[in-house]
Amino acid sequence: MQKFETLTGVAAPMSLVNIDTDMIIPKQFLKTIKRSGLGKNLFDELRYTENGEENPDFVLNQKKYRNSKILVVGENFGCGSSREHAPWALLDFGIRCVISISFADIFYNNCFKNGILPIELPQEIVNVLMQETQKGSNAQITIELENQMITTSDGTCFSFDIDSFKKHCLLNGLDDVGLTMEKAASIDNFERQSKIERPWV
């Protein structure tokens, strides 16, 4: 997994609430057996017309947001299905950070497995950042994970909270499976005990 240390980039706004994983990556693109290549279909039904042409109104089709690395989004982003194709598509497009009041649980977890930082902030601060995005490519936002700090183009800073274990993994690009494998003895013990206590499992 790619490390996340400091990110500077343009932030694009999507204020709609309840943006679900079907919107982020529609099901016809889940038929892949790979993790890569989904960026071109990120937000497919919003981004393209039925004829496959770009919808000029969609935010990421606008010149100033084409190279966005950050999304500032409405609450409950990523609700719906557990498809990890949603963070895969964001990552493949180049999005490394999503900021919202709230995220759906499974999507939130999936982001951390892919080097994407989801940041939860109170409504007032999300509103300020949503305003900031209106400056388009003139407004680079910087996110420092180590200091847990967001800095806008005019130097305003906001701190954010994050789970310490998730932060550690993201900063170091750690693979969960490798970490857990180090605890193999604990798993062995648990299974031995479980065979006695719950032999039917």
């Binding site: 204020s15 709609l16 609430v17 309840n18 679900d20 079907d22 919107m23 529609p26 099901k27 016809q28 889940l30 038929k31 892949t32 057996i33 790979k34 993790r35 039904e45 039925e50 409405g74 609450e75 409950n76 609700c79 719906g80 299905s81 557990s82 498809r83 990890e84 963070p87 709230s102 995220f103 759906a104 649980d105 499974i106 977890n109 999936n110 497995k113 892919n114 789970d163 310490s164 274990f165 969960d176 499976v177 970490l179 857990t180 494998m181 605890k183 193999a184 604990s186 798993i187 648990f190 299974e191 479980s194 719950r198 032999p199 039917w200 499992v201």
Partner: protein, 468 residues
Amino acid sequence: MTPKTLYDKIWDAHVVHEAKDDTCLIYIDRHLVHEVTSPQAFEGLRLAGRKVRAPEKTIAVPDHNVPTTSDRSNPEKMTEDSAIQVAELDKNAKEFGIHYYPVTDIRQGIVHIVGPEQGWTLPGMTVVCGDSHTATHGAFGALAHGIGTSEVEHVLATQTLIQKKSKNMKVEITGKLPPNVTAKDITLSVIGKIGTAGGTGYVIEYCGEAIEDLSMEGRMTVCNMAIEGGARAGLIAPDKKTFDYVKGRPHAPKGFQWEAALSWWKTLYSDKTAKWDKVVTLIADNIAPVVTWGTSPEDVLPITETVPGPDNFKGAKADAARRSLKYMGLTPGTKLSEIEIDTVFIGSCTNGRIEDLRAAAKILKGRKIREGLRAMVVPGSGLVREQAEVEGLADIFKKAGFEWRLAGCSMCLAMNPDQLRPGERCAATSNRNFEGRQGRGGRTHLMSPAMAAAAAIAGKLTDVREMS
């Protein structure tokens, strides 16, 4: 002893390791696998030279992609990419030695219907699957939730998950349900009340007389949609109905193991003085047959109501309502019972079990669907399908004008050829009414099987109480 909730008890029984910051390693008793969210996980194992740690606890079945027409065993009936995913699952199941129900097996079906049906799902277990509707298994008092593909790989390799404990929410449904009001109406009404983010960060336990009165299948319908309320999982305490349902199933414990299991299962309930982080109460008598009008499962109203307008909402929700109404092609103030439909879909992990088919068939018996309507029943498993044929339900559906399909997820998420066309409006017993969910531009109204059957007859959304 500190009083505990059901969730606390199951959690505590599965902690393998706890770090200083409360991050836990949780043991997984059952891992269900399907073709869409697993190929990259198996590939990850292969690249790292890892095995499946507990193949005997891992069960795979193709369901999302598979066609539901009778000629489906012909791979040419699938699109090339669908066929590849199913073939990958075939290959991975063999290579890693996990339990497998291929498309040709009568036990094949939607993973969340197959698990309980085969007795894989048992009270007090932890159950995961790379699918958000894993919450279904909570009906057995099992801690069950969806995971992403990276976590699928993690469970395959280690039989554990890295987790932090969620908060406890109690959702109590007091009193008795009125006639023709079903488990689907309960679960949709709860989402309407708490919102689709209302359960975020929580595990919900559903309780109260109306929940106790539900059959196991009804309880599965309720827990299935816990995720639509944002909760990690939904739970219902196991009771005699649970034990009776489980007993004798192919993978349920037998003999002295059954007795041992039963004595533990009987301790699985929330202590009276257990602490809840949030409590929500609904009065069963106030729950009506409901339908959704918008593109979020929280956009739910009794069938007797009218389509709301953006003015009924505040801030960002008003914008969302405006967008929903445009997408759904609805005008505020229209009676819900006047909305005409083109398609009816009965099936899915929410409502694809035998009791769901019985409820729909009861309304359809001796009646015909409105002319020109497309209607299909997709049983949740091959065994549900067989049972429905034995009971004569299949004949009722066919005579009424429904297509009688083979098992799979089908039009719930439209990954197979069963899809809505742009603008087509569907009465569906599934779980999501998101934009494009059943096909690009398709318009979905969620409801119970009885309500969907009534809609099929009338050709519009209809109050089932006027038809039964």
